[in-house]
C-alpha cells in the first residue's frame, strides 16, 4: 500500500516522495550527461591519433560498461539515501501535531457534542430574543402607566381644587355646610308656612 505522506505534504508544501524523485532524476541525468561528455572527449582525443586501432564502437562499449556499473551503484546507494531521508528528515513523527492542528488536541468534540453546543447557542439566542421582546413590552407599559397616572392625578387635583375653593370661601367642611344649609332651608320653609297660616 502507498503511504501518500499527506501530512508531510501539508507541512512541506510538496510530497517527500516527489522531492526524492526529482533529486533522483536530476542526479541520473547528470551522470548520463557526464558519461556522454567523457565519451565525446575520448573520441575527440582519438581523432588526434589517425593510426589508432581503437574504434568509436569500442569506446561506446566501454562507456556502456562503466555507466552500467555506476548506475547499479547509484540506484543502490540512492535507495538507501531515500529511505533514510524519508524516515529521518522528510517525516513527521506519529506523535507530533503541527501547530495549525493544535486545536484538535484541545477541543476534540464529537459530532454529538458539537451539535449540543450549537443547540445551546440557538436556545440562548431564542431566550435573548424573548427577553428583549419582554423588555420592550415592559417599557411600553411603563410609558402607558406614566400617562395614565398623570391623568388620574389630574382628576385628584381637580377634586382638591374644588375643596380648596370651598375652604377659601369659608366652608371648612362642605358636607356639613351643605347639611346645615339644607336644615336651615327646611326650618325657614317651616317658619314661612307657620307665618302664612297665622296670617290667614
Amino acid at each position: 500500500s502507498v503511504n501518500p505522506m499527506a501530512y508531510e505534504a501539508q507541512f512541506f508544501g510538496f510530497t517527500p516522495q516527489t522531492c526524492m524523485l526529482r533529486i533522483y532524476i536530476a542526479f541520473q541525468d547528470y551522470l548520463f550527461e557526464m558519461m556522454l561528455v567523457v565519451e565525446s572527449v575520448i573520441l575527440k582525443k582519438l581523432d588526434g591519433f589517425p593510426g589508432c586501432k581503437i574504434s568509436p564502437f569500442q569506446i561506446r562499449k566501454s562507456t556502456e560498461k562503466f555507466l552500467l556499473f555506476m548506475k547499479e551503484h547509484f540506484d543502490k546507494l540512492f535507495g538507501k539515501m531515500e529511505e533514510m531521508l524519508l524516515q529521518l528528515v522528510l517525516n513527521i513523527p506519529k506523535n507530533v501535531l503541527l501547530p495549525e492542528d493544535k486545536v484538535h488536541e484541545q477541543y476534540p468534540y464529537s459530532k454529538e457534542q458539537f451539535q449540543a453546543l450549537q443547540d445551546e447557542i440557538s436556545q440562548l439566542q431564542q431566550q435573548y430574543r424573548a427577553e428583549a421582546s419582554a423588555g420592550q413590552a415592559l417599557r411600553a407599559e411603563l410609558e402607558e402607566q406614566k400617562a395614565v397616572q398623570a391623568e388620574l392625578e389630574k382628576i385628584l387635583q381637580w377634586f382638591d381644587g374644588l375643596e380648596n375653593i370651598c375652604r377659601e370661601h369659608g366652608i371648612g367642611n362642605f358636607k356639613e355646610s351643605f347639611v346645615f344649609l339644607a336644615q336651615n332651608s327646611k326650618k325657614l320653609q317651616d317658619v314661612l308656612k307657620d307665618v302664612e297660616e297665622k296670617s290667614k
Binding site: P4, M5, A6, Y7, A9, Q10, G13, F14, T15, Q17, T18, E100, Q125
Partner: protein, 32 residues
C-alpha cells in the same frame, strides 16, 4: 496523484482558517 495530494494538503491547511474567518464575522455581526 502527487498534485492531488499537495492540493488536498494545502486546502486542509488553509481552508479551516478561511471558513473560521467567515464564521467569526457572522458571530461578531450577530453580537453587534
Amino acid at each position: 496523484f502527487d498534485e492531488l495530494i499537495v492540493e488536498t494538503a494545502t486546502k486542509r491547511k488553509q481552508w479551516p482558517k478561511k471558513i473560521l474567518m467567515h464564521a467569526i464575522q457572522t458571530m461578531k455581526a450577530e453580537q453587534e
